[in-house]
């Protein structure tokens, strides 16, 4: 079976969707034929589809999103890119006050089928302006759907769905350290629906809910634990909005123990929402121990490798949490 990297899977999704529909246009800084995107996701797209449809922009994050929103309101299906997740802070109004609210404010008169892509995450010693994970901000903004694939397979399937099948604004978040991971990706067209969590590994003793790179770290922990006879189930929600709480609750009914793992900082992060939903949606009665959250420490992301490693969750911290909920 073919194994490719996530950046290739994303690129393939773009190729298929841009061939399929002329209304799909890409807008972002250095995504064209000079640079091919900061992470080379868009390599070759300008060559195939032309500069009119793969548009390099000035350094104007608000205008990148604003323009995409205006285009989406009037018949295009734009995909806008913010080069680094931290910089999305410059486009918060365009995303959370405009893209997210326009359909609602206008009483459903228009739709805004825009996809907003950006990479989050640390681990590359890029320091506090190029390593943040802000997905919780968007989960807290009514009107945005959110995908955050952890594998090449999910990357392609979710991106295709976001572009073709969802008429609402989608925040499509990627993770810098997931870009080069390889995985099985079918050559045929396929779509992954939003709102369907994926059980990345089945298990009976503990449920880990994890996103992005933490899925992979959790899988490693699960493997280690297996050797000790502990059976860990790893669930990747894949989309935060809509959120597939059912799959998670079903797992909790089985395991009675939950660890939620995310790279965003802990305070008011997505682990808080996930843990709260588990409690509210039926988990409480099945839980044998309080849910543990494993997330980045409540600091900006530091530059130096030993510091960065300390702040971002690693296998050791995940394993420790698993042991604690089992204790």
């Amino acid at each position: 079976m073919r194994e490719i990297m996530a950046i290739e899977a994303l690129r393939e999704a773009f190729q298929e969707e841009m061939r399929n529909d002329k209304r799909v246009v890409l807008i972002g800084e250095d995504i064209g034929s000079k640079w091919h995107g900061a992470f080379k996701v868009t390599q070759g797209l300008a060559a195939e589809f032309g500069e009119e449809r793969v548009r390099d922009t000035p350094i104007s994050e608000a205008a990148i999103i604003g323009t995409a929103v205006g285009a989406a309101m009037t018949g295009l299906r734009p995909v806008a890119e913010i080069m680094f997740g931290d910089l999305i802070a410059l486009a918060m109004d365009a995303i959370c006050n405009q893209a997210a609210k326009i359909r609602y404010m206008f009483g459903g008169q228009v739709k805004v089928p825009v996809v907003i892509r950006t990479p989050f995450g640390g681990g590359k010693s890029l320091a506090a302006h190029h390593s943040s994970s802000f997905e919780a901000w968007f989960m807290h903004a009514a009107g945005l759907k959110i995908a955050m694939p952890s594998t090449p397979y999910d990357s392609k399937g979710l991106l295709k769905t976001a572009i073709r099948n969802i008429d609402d604004p989608v925040c499509f978040f990627e993770h810098k350290l997931c870009y080069l991971l390889k995985g099985h990706v079918p050559e045929e067209e396929y779509f992954i629906p939003f709102g369907e969590a994926d059980i990345k590994r089945e298990g009976a003793d503990v449920t880990i809910v994890a996103t992005f790179l933490m899925v992979h770290k959790s899988l490693k922990v699960a493997e280690e634990m297996a050797k000790e006879g502990i059976s860990v189930e790893v669930i990747d929600p894949r989309t935060l909005v809509p959120f597939d709480i059912k799959t998670i609750i079903n797992s909790v009914k089985k395991t009675g123990r939950v660890v939620v793992v995310s790279e965003d900082i802990k305070r008011a992060g997505i682990t808080a929402e996930i843990a709260s939903q588990i409690m509210e949606e039926g988990g409480f009665d099945y839980l044998d121990a309080p849910i543990k959250r494993v997330a980045s420490l409540n600091t900006p992301i530091p530059f130096s490798p030993p510091l960065e490693d300390y702040v971002i969750p690693n296998e050791k911290r995940i394993a420790k949490a698993v042991k604690e909920v089992l204790a």
Binding site: G66, G70, A71, T74, G107, G108, A142
Partner: protein, 357 residues
């Protein structure tokens, strides 16, 4: 065709070797030659519609029938009417927090507007938007917008749509003097200029942003001077003279439609009332207010049309009566409309599903 008027005017000016400095007067000369009278009469009618609509709003919210706040367009009517008279139905308009005038000028209906302002289920936005988000997408409106300047980055997107889809649509993007200090102004104008997008940026310089005088927050006298930073034309016109606005916008719209890129038009104008609901505008010197009230765009246009014989007193009265009646009918529709079912608050977040509680 909307642009026939100006074209004929130019041709016949050449032929007749008419040498008149004032652009407005020049057009009137043409009209004496009986060219497109109706256009001017229609502009007058529109001005009046905007005026009476806002006066009725003032009346309604004084009676507490309009919730929230409201920013009246009173005094600035010539801008919306002058610009939008150059637009086709398929063209787009990006509006602002002070958006009633833009909506009406682009063709929105008074009844559904009043209903929206009152928060009724029959309003354009089913009561979800109100004054600051009022819009009629079916006539090309991109929406009023509560965040000052935010529309300036959205408008280029609609223009990009037009460009990539190969239509000849243009986008008129309205905003205030205050908005020209926002980062969005800079990014929006620059991206539109860079990509030669068909946008006409229309700054309605009414001298104030809330209580803040324009001259206290920028060192240039005219917002139009800022066009130079983007390599596009910047033009100033008399925002209280609908004919001057029309003519200025005509050139800009033509330019945009021909693929030559955006223009920044600055319309010097003034709001007659305070900034919003409770503001009495005390920060404005009395003589300044008086001077501007004397330049009322509607009175000016009326007088002109009368003095040039395009309109008789009777015609004028008939038009005025008709508009007033329409306003009353529309307001009545809104008053009699029901409030929305509370549960509809969950609709319209998403295209397909409703939100759950």
């Amino acid at each position: 065709m909307k642009d026939v008027l100006t074209k004929k005017m130019d041709d016949s000016a050449k032929e007749n070797n008419v040498l008149i400095e004032n652009k407005g007067f020049k057009i009137l000369v043409m009209l004496l030659m009986d060219v497109e009278k109706n256009k001017l009469i229609e502009m007058y009618r529109k001005l009046l519609e905007l005026r009476r609509f806002e006066e009725k709003c003032w009346d309604l919210f004084s009676q507490n029938l309009i919730p929230g706040t409201i920013h009246l367009y009173l005094g600035q009517e010539a801008v919306a009417v002058g610009v939008c008279s150059n637009l086709n139905d398929a063209d787009y308009v990006q509006s602002t927090h002070r958006g009633h005038g833009h909506c009406l000028a682009k063709g929105a209906k008074m009844d559904k507007m009043f209903a929206e302002l009152m928060g009724k289920a029959t309003g354009y936005c089913k009561g979800k938007g109100g004054s600051m988000h009022i819009t009629d997408a079916s006539v090309g409106l991109l929406g009023a917008c509560g965040v000052v300047g935010a529309g300036i980055v959205i408008a280029p997107g609609a223009a990009l749509s037009a460009k990539l889809q190969g239509t000849d649509q243009v986008v008129a993007c309205f905003f205030g003097d205050g908005a020209s200090n926002t980062g969005n102004f800079h990014e929006g104008l620059n991206i539109a200029a860079t990509w030669d997008l068909p946008v006409v940026f229309v700054c309605e310089n009414n001298l104030y942003a809330m209580g803040t005088k324009q001259s206290d927050v920028m060192k240039v006298e005219n917002v139009a001077e800022r066009a130079a930073a983007y390599g596009i034309p910047g033009v100033i016109c008399d925002g209280n003279d609908v004919v001057d606005v029309y003519k200025t916008a005509y050139e800009a719209v033509k330019r945009a439609r021909e693929g030559k890129g955006p223009t920044l038009i600055e319309c010097k104008t003034y709001r007659h009332k305070g900034h919003s609901r409770f503001d009495q505008g005390k920060y404005r010197p009395e003589d300044e207010v008086e001077e501007w009230l004397s330049k009322d765009p509607i009175a000016r246009m009326r007088e002109r049309l009368l003095s040039m014989g395009i309109l008789t007193d009777e015609d004028a009265s008939r038009i005025e009566k008709k508009v007033e009646d329409e306003v009353e009918v529309a307001a009545k529709f809104a008053l009699e409309s029901p409030f929305p079912d509370p549960k509809t608050a969950l609709d319209d977040v998403w295209v397909e599903e409703s939100e759950s509680e």
